[in-house]
């Protein structure tokens, strides 16, 4: 089996389907034809640009450019994780917490995978490093943002309980333990579900992509299993880091609950 390259004409044919949904919107007065058009245009431009960027990166094979690309990806993921929060710390704290947790977890796991399991030559080869980091980052970001969101809202809602425990002489670790546990659990549920459903309900994207590119399915499955393990590890690490950092920021050295630090 070989890889079948697509021509631009093929894309034009496929875009007729988009036209169809636009026409449906007009006939049914859904009033989303403009949105469909803009979203499709954005998607095309963004993907073409990223295609060019990746092509440039892959040609360079430079640790500097790979590092720059990774840093930008992590910064954007941190921004997205912070933007999803209902309750935030004042200032840059939420962004800082989210981004540093993502950076710690995703770089450890990605570097580990590249140097000990996938072992491209050189290990930072962007053709491997960037897609692997991207998959790990996207999933870890979900865990971090769900975990943080859960911790912050349960601290606000559970204020009286936390302070009752502190009043009894419990330290902040003990007072926050159930909240931390519950928040980490919430952050990990989606990856547990993804692992349980993999292969039965959904064919994971990377595996599908490799199969389309002509890779033997059993080989593609091995890659997918590896990626799932990496994602699970990174999500657990990142979520735990973010939740623990946030729990510390919600309290102070005198073991007080500091909801005044929320915006």
């Amino acid at each position: 089996m070989t890889f079948i390259a697509l021509g631009y004409a093929d894309l034009v044919i496929a875009s007729l389907l988009l036209l169809l949904s636009g026409l449906l919107s007009i006939f049914l007065r859904l009033k989303i034809e403009r949105q469909i058009g803009i979203a499709a245009l954005r998607m095309v431009i963004q993907l073409m640009l990223i295609g060019l960027v990746l092509k440039f990166l892959f040609q360079m094979v430079s640790p500097l450019w790979t590092g720059v690309a990774a840093a930008i990806m992590i910064a954007l993921a941190g921004r997205e994780a912070a933007a999803r929060q209902k309750r935030k710390f004042s200032g840059w704290w939420t962004y800082g917490l989210g981004t540093s947790s993502l950076m710690i977890a995703c770089s450890i796991v990605t570097v580990l995978a590249l140097t000990t399991q996938i072992r491209p030559e050189p290990w930072f080869d962007p053709r491997f490093a960037i897609p692997i980091l991207g998959m790990i980052l996207g999933n870890t970001m979900n865990g971090v943002s769900i975990g943080l969101d859960r911790l912050m809202s349960s601290a606000v809602e559970g204020r009286a309980i936390i302070e009752a425990r502190l009043s009894l002489g419990h330290d902040r670790v003990r007072a926050f333990k159930p909240l931390v546990q519950e928040s980490v659990r919430a952050g990990l549920i989606h990856i547990i579900n993804a692992m349980s459903a993999a292969g039965l309900i959904s064919l994971p994207g990377m595996m599908t992509g490799q199969i389309l590119a002509g890779v033997d399915p059993t080989e593609a499955v091995k890659y997918q299993i590896l990626i799932m393990f990496l994602i699970a590890g990174s999500t657990a690490l990142g979520t735990l880091a973010a939740v623990v950092f946030a729990a510390r920021r919600l309290t102070d050295g005198r073991h007080r609950l500091r909801l005044d630090r929320l915006a």
């Binding site: 302070e163 009752a164 502190l166 159930p178 073991h255 007080r256």
Partner: protein, 197 residues
């Protein structure tokens, strides 16, 4: 001896107060005057400044958890984190003794929290705070949800603790309660504390 000097915090202060072992300070004042904030500041639950000493030892020299174990704040509305009453008490035998003193039996330890009434929670909350044998009690309207008979039980329990040298600062709207506890009386208004004759 609890000694408070120059205590300031959100909405209160500067406040000075001295209380010997076995003494009671009863604080009255309009809603929003800062009565609860004062108790919370003494317990170090909110950011605050000032010098507080317990038997000659500076509060900041102690870790906050051990300070709060000795200077116990009991909120007017108690909060519970586990499913059963008993899960909130480590030493079940000591708990049973205390529960009997507030008119509840050993069986209360098996009660499920959502089924406990407000008045029962108030007595359970006081018993829970007394478990660690604190040297100072900061009580925020501890009998507000109680009938006369149960209020009397709680006051008896408090009087017993006073006899053992515990100091109490109590926020109460009931002048008779202050009299029964032989309290020194104070009035808090706009965050400032004044002794009343």
């Amino acid at each position: 001896m609890l000694s408070i000097r120059n205590l300031t915090g959100t909405g209160i202060g500067p406040i000075a107060l001295k209380l010997a072992g076995g003494e009671v300070a009863a604080i009255t004042g309009p809603s929003g005057a800062g009565k609860s904030l004062l108790l919370r500041a003494i317990a170090d639950l909110d950011p605050n400044d000032g010098e507080i000493m317990l038997d000659g030892e500076e509060r900041l020299k102690m870790s906050a958890p051990s300070w709060r174990a000795q200077v116990a704040y009991v909120a007017s509305e108690t909060s519970w984190w586990a499913e059963r009453v008993g899960d909130h008490f480590e030493d079940k035998r000591a708990a049973t003794q205390l529960l009997e003193q507030v008119g509840l039996g050993e069986s209360a330890l098996d009660w499920s929290i959502p089924r406990v009434s407000t008045g029962e929670k108030q007595r359970l909350g006081l018993a829970r705070s007394l478990m660690g044998k604190p040297r100072v009690l900061l009580l925020d309207e501890p009998t507000s949800a109680l009938d006369a008979a149960n209020r009397e039980l709680v006051e008896q329990l408090l009087t017993g603790r006073l006899g053992e040298g515990t100091s109490i600062i109590i926020v109460t709207h009931d002048p008779e309660q202050a009299k029964r506890l032989k309290a020194k009386r104070y009035h808090l208004e706009a965050g400032l504390l004044e002794a009343t004759p």
